[in-house]
Amino acid sequence: MATTKKKTTRKRRNPVPRLNPKNGPPVYFPEEPTSIPIERIEEAVRTVLAAHGMLHPKALAKMRKSQQ
């Protein structure tokens, strides 16, 4: 029986939809690995934006939901 090659899909981070502008340019993330886990960078940025009331409402709601 002929073997079929299993299709693999590579999880890509970019482009990610931007939360705030309706018609703004896309935001890309670096393909190079970060020196610290990217989740930690995201968490730190989100924490500081939230502390200064600058976090997008949708991101804020998501953050609160994840903290519950």
Partner: protein, 207 residues
């Protein structure tokens, strides 16, 4: 065999600039402007595999980037050696060669910066006739030039204005020490990929 373009070719912006501490604010501002305009900055500061020859890495970055920013403002005599550093003019030359000799790379667009408008004529007169932009070592000016160039060369309409991008950069820069504090890092400890990821996430999450 015809050369193949990197899939990210149209969004990559190669940044050829000095790496000294005094240039850091300018570098960060340019990286932020490129990101906020919807493009991806690429730099030789990216992680270098120890088995990889540095020049090969730079050539690969040039090959995979439609846009390039070359800052020649630090082409000056080194205090210790009394010799000029020619890395940036060399990389500009490689990029000009890539654009000239490769048909698929003929769409490349270069933004050349110097500290003063006509200084290059004294050390690199062969590039006379090209538009050399003066940034006066001012990040605000550099951001505006980068934005205007990307807007006109890419044809994208949705790029915010230079003053808007610079205001956002200042807000990001103000928040960076606090972000680093949460991460228990010094801002100087951030690698290029760390900074790039932090900027991307900051842009995508703020209101």
């Amino acid at each position: 065999m015809a050369a193949r373009l990197d899939p990210a070719f149209d969004r990559n912006v190669f940044i050829n600039c000095p790496f000294d501490a005094a240039y850091a604010p300018m570098f960060e501002a340019i990286v932020f402007a490129v990101k906020d305009a919807g493009f991806e900055p690429r730099s030789a500061r990216e992680r270098l595999d120890s088995s990889q020859i540095r020049l090969h890495k730079i050539i690969e970055l040039i090959r995979s980037s439609r846009f390039s920013i070359h800052d020649l403002s630090r082409t000056e005599l080194d205090d210790a050696t009394a010799l000029p550093r020619f890395n940036m003019p060399l990389e500009l030359g490689i990029d000009l060669g890539c654009k000239a000799f490769s048909r698929v790379h003929s769409r490349k667009s270069l933004l050349i910066f110097d500290a003063e408008q006509y200084r290059f004529q004294k050390y690199l007169s062969d590039i006379g006739g090209q538009d050399i932009h003066r940034h006066g070592n001012n990040p605000r000016t550099a951001v505006a030039r980068v934005r205007d160039w990307l807007r006109s060369e890419s044809g994208r309409d949705a790029i915010p204005g230079g003053s808007v991008i610079f205001r956002r950069y200042e807000a990001f820069r103000t928040s960076l020490p606090e972000t680093c504090s949460v991460l228990r890092l010094d801002a100087d400890d951030l690698t290029f990929a760390d900074l790039s990821a932090a900027i991307s996430f900051w842009i995508s999450q703020q209101s």
